[in-house]
């Protein structure tokens, strides 16, 4: 099934959305908010599934669904933790500065605790106070889990993945080096992220959901041009289930916890750096990557980070070409 949170109060109003994202039916009589549904998922999900079937069969009155009326599926969440499943991204960052990737990175995932107290809506502008902060998009996939106990295995974690989304994990590259040098991870360098208009249960993906990964290209367009088409199941060192399991090592995860994949990134056909989409490659899901490739090739980056007026869109289409999650579409604006 497909769920969304229409903009309403702080936590949105839960609605069930048709598979083609054209219609919705209010579900707030079943659970007022997405978080409320997740808090009681085992009991509530069957009612939502039944309503979804009715929406699909046009057996209930529906209203027109407009993606721009949607908040992020969880407009605010109790936890947002972002991994780094695609080591190619990490390898590129390191290579650009001549550093090796530690061997441990291939079996011990990188993960940071992100701010979750307020997410941008999928069509909200990205407020930017200072272009020197180096605003970048990061296209990712993410899952929402139910309650997960401490210390689960990846196999156990897989069963806790209830919903899937796309993310634009906005990053302020100019603030990252100083902040990471302090040793306490990201804080100011990771402002509010945005999630796709719709969250879907894994079964919606059919065969494209396998081994806790989405086997589809993540379509990232930058200023209206194709920028990234990296497949979210390719060169993934870790699955979403691996990342969920990692997050549980020392603590439980509350229902509604969002775990992200990190920037989706594919190698080139020759195993080296990927080519731009315009040259037949899979392109990039963030600007930092193309800058790294430019740095490796020419000694310096030439693509600049996002400035007011620049736009990014992120979506995923199934084998038939239909949008799965709707589209994140954001413009950077001066704050």
């Amino acid at each position: 099934m497909k769920l969304a949170s229409l903009k309403h109060g702080r936590d949105g109003k839960l609605v069930v959305v048709s598979k083609d994202l054209t219609r919705y039916c209010a579900a707030d009589n079943i659970a007022p908010t997405m978080q409320a549904a997740l808090d009681d998922w085992e009991r509530v999900a069957p009612y939502l599934e039944a309503l979804y079937r009715d929406v699909e069969h046009q057996a209930v009155p529906c209203q027109r669904f407009h993606e721009h009326d949607a908040a992020s599926p969880l407009p605010r969440a109790y936890q947002w933790a972002d991994g780094s499943a695609y080591i190619n991204h990490v390898e590129l960052v390191r290579k650009a500065r001549g550093a090796e990737v530690p061997e441990s990175f291939y079996h011990d995932p990188l993960m940071y605790q992100g701010g979750s107290d307020g997410f941008l809506a999928p069509r909200d502008p990205i407020p930017l106070k200072d272009t020197a902060w180096g605003c970048d998009m990061e296209g990712e996939i993410a899952c929402i889990v139910d309650d997960v106990p401490m210390g689960v295995s990846s196999e156990e974690a897989a069963g806790h993945i209830k919903l899937l989304m796309l993310v634009n994990d906005v990053s302020l590259r100019g603030l990252i080096p100083d902040e990471l040098a302090k040793g306490f991870g990201f804080f100011q360098s990771k402002p509010a992220s945005a999630f796709s208009p719709v969250a879907v249960t894994p079964d919606e993906l059919g065969e494209a959901w396998s081994n806790s990964l989405i086997h589809l290209p993540l379509m990232v367009d930058y200023n209206g041009e194709p920028f990234g088409r990296a497949n979210a199941a390719q060169e993934a060192t870790f699955t979403l289930a691996d990342l969920v399991a990692h997050a549980t090592k020392t603590r439980n995860l509350c229902a509604g916890t969002i775990i992200g994949s990190g920037t989706v990134s594919n190698k080139g056909e020759d195993g080296g750096a990927g080519k731009p989409v315009s040259e037949g490659g899979a392109g990039y899901s963030c600007i930092a990557e193309i800058r790294m490739i430019e740095t490796i090739a020419d000694g310096a980056p030439k693509t600049r980070f996002m400035q007011p007026g620049d736009t990014v869109s992120i979506e995923m289409r199934d084998a038939a070409g239909h949008t799965v999650f709707g589209k994140i579409e954001q413009e950077v604006v001066a704050a």
Copy 2:
């Protein structure tokens, strides 16, 4: 006024507690939960204040308040970010390993994004799977804010501090070095924290609340013995308002965001390392500090980290000797 969340469902039931913490009156007819009250603070707070006056004057029926019935004031929160106001703590850590404190640390606060999806109740045991993880307590003060817009000054931030609490920011010292070496900050090394049974408005502290700091000693007892009596206003490089302002540089903070001070830590009378309480000093608010002092003195630490059976309590008493926030009291148990 003094507020608590009695254990009830995921988010507790809001109650107003008498100044002496002996009685409570349910406030869920005003706001069902602490988060709901914070979401609508300007409208709701006057009703809670009126109820608090009635509780104090015994003008409403009250029930006996038991601290062990209280969840953390916010049993889960949308944000928990912890600063490092007491640079003495940072200086000690660095000195123990022969490193300098970067000059920037004196004007640019350290802050990490903590997990907020589930806090331990103030009397809950601390579950520990492996003693090699090096379980430590960290006694701190913390504030809860209402909605704070991006980019506020410290002066503006001060007005957003609505409630104050104590924290035991549980840390797994054995996991920290490897995790910080990865560069993404704490995740597995910071399991669930616990907050004091009661959250209080700053006016409850009278003159002890000044310049966004609490001018009282933080009483940390370890295994029943006084371990720390460091004054939370002494040698604070940053105030709680400074830390709130820091957190807003690139994003808004949602009502209910908790900002912590970092481990409270005082220098010794001679400006050097503080002495243990048993030797007339202010002692320590975490085990890591005494281990650092032992390392500086003798080349190696001799106090071990917490193991199952070890207990910690954290509270603060006003000038008249009355508890302000109630007591965090926890025992480490094998998980």
